[in-house]
């Protein structure tokens, strides 16, 4: 019988270098002769630059060079998701502002010196004079007539207006009918801005080899091949002379997808000066200029019959884009948001209007979940509002509307085809772990005592594994979304697998080795997964959108299977048997019926590599390359529940239990899957309870350090209770779906609805996130003043 390592929670192979401090993140690289770059940034959200005096900075000790926007000939940073049919404006995004700054942190000059202290000293001596202009920070206000314009060529600050609809007439009819003889619930939701806060700040080290005319850039990137593509366009260095290395990368959460001005400036400075240049942002810079997430103001409503059958959902979203359109920004509140309004439910009429708005704030782009957390939140929020209005149990209302189980495709009204799902299965498992009915009894008793105890339940489906390239093209993504892999067996029987995707904490050096081990029979120790270096790996579009395992993993499986078939043919030749008579188990190819007559895959590899005796028509070597373009997205799903208790005297929300049942198909390594879910839950709870970017009305960032931005801490959480169901993806070679974002997608509405459930006796229906103690306390006070319980 074949032993499988798939499904086994083996320890990660990445860890020894990480727990001993032996790894190398980008800022760890010290190259001979290296100098340090600091970016001089605008302290104003919106201003005209009247003069820049660099003389004092140039004379400062250790300074190698100072450059302003006038000196740097690079073209602007491109936006790469040009959503069609939306009248998209793509205002120029210069690498350094020449005449106008548009947000606090906009770069105006770079200073390069022999060490980072001297570079910062000199940066402080760059004298920039500004004429301050009025700023706008709220994406809804920014669209009103008379609002300050962030870009002169973007009227009303509207960068795009995008509509997805199952049919406007049907949507209108559904809402008209519900208004007349059913129910409609509405809410204005503020999806507050969040800071991705990868623990490793962004960094770049560039080295120009003037003799070979080759540029090497070490970069904190989730997608080195895309980075090379864009850096090549910006610097003019052709791609075959440009190597991007993403060494160890300390988390990304979407914030390391884009190419920013800073990396391009680092590369340019190295070329200009002929020495290696390092740039590393401080945390304050990270909070000012590295992309933010969310920032929606949404007007959403749901229509239903009096029996609780949902008949329609629609929303109008003002999506803050910040001062410039970041790499993938327009795709987030449109394609990855509006198309998910059906959630896990059968909803016949769906419409989303998304308005992308420029504001004098940091650019907004993909942050863990990217559009889907926002969609799931509003759907789940409206379902709970509907249940309250109908006086129905929110779980029963969900059950009434869940899409029935399906194994191979289900079309939702907005046009997507979900791959597989069993939502009620996940929900049932969840409710039994939670003891939902028991909790409701406990809650009733607690309410008698004046305690504020609540439960939130979410059933979700999400879209990941991005995605078919044809769809990418149709929705305006300026790239493909396939992956490729090379599996190579060395003569001595070790495996190197090169992938284009670029894991940065998700553990694919372990899980992908498990995949190959199962396919080819090599022990995991003999398999090396190579990633994160454009010169060592084949092309791929990177690690984001929970796509590494669904897409890169599929390429890897298929490449390994090609190797296996070649090895089988080689073994058959050596055994003087027909290929059709060869059985395989545990790395051995055996003649059927004579299991003692076998060749190992190592035997086959050695002879294929020596090539002394090959079957007719076989090329030497034991290696295969595979491109993989997925036929569909993957749709993980699940059900989450949270139980909270609120202290009525302080407004503090205490999270008592958190239970998650997720389905990502078969799990390659359950330990790693659970780790992804834990982290995702905490990020989502962070949004619900503590995180939020604050700009003042002048566009000053008030949450500019970790002292001011409330990151979730260990003592906020109980031990999470996790379980799973297994519904394979019908289109993936090993049935797997992504799991990187589900926790974040499901947990924010789960917590929010739990808090609202706890506050229901007081008649409180809404509090803006984050649900901090002062906000909850104030809502309780206001409710009591109005005569609530």
């Amino acid at each position: 019988m074949t032993t499988r390592i798939f499904g086994s929670g083996i320890k990660r192979r990445e860890d020894p270098r990480l727990i001993t401090g032996q790894t190398r993140y980008t800022d760890d690289f010290q190259l001979p002769g290296m100098v340090y770059m600091v970016v001089v940034r605008s302290p104003h959200a919106h201003a005209r630059i009247t003069s820049i005096d660099i003389s004092a900075a140039k004379a400062s000790p250790g300074v190698v060079a100072v450059f302003t926007g006038q000196d740097v000939p690079l073209p602007g940073v491109p936006c790469a998701w040009l959503v069609p049919g939306s009248d998209l404006k793509t205002p120029a995004h210069p690498v350094l502002a020449k005449d106008t700054v548009r947000y606090v942190g906009d770069g105006v000059a770079i200073v390069i010196a022999t060490n980072r202290y001297l570079a910062q000293d000199a940066a402080d001596l760059v004298q920039v004079s500004y004429d301050v202009l009025p700023a706008v920070v709220n994406p809804e206000d920014a669209t009103k007539d008379g609002a300050p314009l962030v870009h002169d060529d973007v009227p009303n600050n509207i960068a795009f207006r995008w509509v997805a609809s199952s049919g406007d007439e049907g949507v209108d009819n559904a809402f008209n009918e519900a208004a007349a003889s059913g129910v409609v619930v509405q809410e204005r939701i503020v999806q507050q801005r969040l800071l991705p806060t990868a623990m490793e700040p962004r960094s770049a080290v560039a080295q120009w080899d003037q003799f070979a005319e080759e540029l090497t850039v070490y970069s904190t990137s989730q997608n080195p091949h895309i980075a090379r593509f864009i850096l090549s366009a910006l610097t003019g260095v052709p791609e075959h002379k440009l190597r991007v290395i993403a060494p160890e990368v300390g988390g990304g959460f979407g914030s390391k997808i884009p190419v920013y001005p800073d990396e391009a400036l680092t590369a340019w400075a190295s070329m200009k000066l002929g020495v290696p240049v390092k740039w590393t942002e401080t945390r304050s810079e990270n909070y000012q200029v590295t992309i933010h997430g969310r920032d929606h103001i949404e007007y959403v409503e749901m229509a239903a019959t009096n029996e609780g059958k949902i008949t329609g959902i629609r929303g109008k979203v003002y999506a803050g884009m910040g001062a410039y359109l970041s790499t993938a920004a327009p795709g987030i509140p449109t394609i990855l948001h509006g198309l998910m309004y059906s959630g896990a439910y059968t909803i016949p009429n769906i419409r989303c209007e998304s308005i992308g708005v420029m504001t004098n704030t940091a650019p907004v782009d993909a942050y863990r979940g990217a559009g889907r957390p926002e969609a799931t939140f509003l759907v789940e929020r409206l379902v709970d509002r509907l249940a309250a209005k109908l006086n129905m149990d929110p779980v029963e209302l969900r059950r009434k509307n869940l899409i029935p189980p399906f194994e191979n495709g289900h079309n939702v009204a907005i046009g997507l085809t979900y791959d597989s799902g069993n939502y009620e299965g996940a929900l049932n498992k969840l409710l039994s772990i939670v003891d939902y009915d028991g909790f409701r009894r406990e809650q009733a008793a607690a309410r008698q005592q004046g305690r504020l105890l609540g439960i939130g339940v979410t059933t979700y489906s999400e879209i990941c594994g991005l995605g078919p390239s044809q769809v990418a093209g149709a929705v305006g993504f300026q790239g493909g979304l396939w992956e490729s892999a090379i599996v190579r067996v060395s003569p001595a029987g070790k495996v190197q697998a090169m992938i284009g995707a670029s894991p940065h904490g998700q553990g694919e050096e372990t899980t992908f080795a498990q995949i190959i081990s199962d396919e080819l029979g090599f022990p995991v120790e003999d398999i090396e997964i190579v990633h994160g270096d454009t010169d060592r790996t084949p092309m791929g579009w990177g690690s984001y959108g929970s796509r590494t395992t669904p897409v890169s993993g599929a390429a890897l499986v298929l490449a390994a299977r090609k190797v296996k078939e070649k090895a089988r043919a080689m073994a058959a030749h050596l055994l003087e048997a027909s290929v059709d008579d060869i059985d395989y188990a545990d790395g051995k190819f055996m003649v059927r019926g004579s299991p003692d007559k076998f060749k190992t895959i190592q035997d086959a590899t050695l002879m294929a590599t020596l090539a002394w005796n090959l079957p007719a028509g076989m090329d030497p070597g034991m290696e295969a390359s595979q491109f993989y373009d997925p036929p569909n997205f993957a749709y993980p799903f699940g059900a989450h529940a949270a139980i909270v208790e609120i202290d009525p005297e302080t407004g503090t929300v205490a999270l008592q239990r958190y239970v998650a049942v997720d389905d990502c198909g078969p799990q390659i390594n359950p330990m790693i899957v659970e780790g992804q879910i834990h982290g995702g839950i905490v990020q989502g709870v962070g949004q619900a309870l503590c995180e939020g970017v604050v700009y003042d009305e002048n566009g000053q960032l008030l949450t500019g350090t970790m002292m001011d931005y409330a990151m979730p801490r260990a003592d906020m959480f109980p031990t999470f209770e996790l379980d799973s169901t297994v519904t394979p993806s019908p289109h993936h070679p090993i049935g797997v779906k992504g799991i990187g974002e589900t926790g974040t997608i499901a947990s924010t509405p789960t917590i929010y609805n739990a808090v609202m459930d706890a506050l229901r006796p007081l008649g409180i229906e809404q509090i803006e996130m984050p649900l901090t103690a002062p906000r909850v306390w104030k809502a309780i006070q206001d409710a009591r003043a109005k005569g609530g319980a």
Partner: protein, 152 residues
């Protein structure tokens, strides 16, 4: 100015800028890049080392303040190939993902166990409030510290 600092048992003498932070001294003067910088304002704890056996955030300490004292970094925790029980527990319990906060987490929690050798889960969670992790959701870090405390 001249400083003499013993790091991981080895004596180093260096002539440095008096304002140099200890973390930059470790990373750039000594090449010990295992200690990371995450926030610059002593919230995140990625830069935690031991100074004379007590945990310290090295991004808010001058190298000059370490003059004549002993520093232990993540590179100095294992005994040869023998991992420290805390390192071993982080590995076994999957207490890390991207690994960036990990050196600081390990240094902070090894120092914590000296003050409280057998903590409850609640005490561990409280002790971690000065160390941020964005990947793990803390659960497996708590499990790792618990496991290490049972073995040490």
């Amino acid at each position: 100015m001249k400083v003499t600092v013993t790091v991981n048992g080895k004596r180093y003498e260096r002539d440095i800028d008096p304002r140099m932070l200890l973390v930059h001294f470790l990373r750039e003067e000594l090449g010990l890049t295992g200690t990371n910088i995450g926030c610059d304002t002593s919230q995140c704890g990625a830069c935690t080392v031991h100074l004379d056996g007590k945990s310290l955030k090295s991004c808010t300490c001058l190298a000059a303040q370490a003059d004549g004292r002993e520093v232990t970094t993540i590179e100095g925790l294992a005994q040869g190939d023998q991992l420290h029980p805390m390192q071993q527990a982080f590995w076994e319990k999957h207490g890390l993902q991207c690994g960036y906060c990990t050196p600081g987490m390990i240094m902070a929690t090894t120092a914590f166990l000296k003050t409280n050798p057998h903590p409850t889960e609640e005490e561990i969670r409280h002790a971690l409030e000065g160390n941020m992790c964005r990947c793990t959701g803390y659960q497996n870090i708590v499990a790792a510290v618990k496991t290490a405390s049972e073995r040490m």
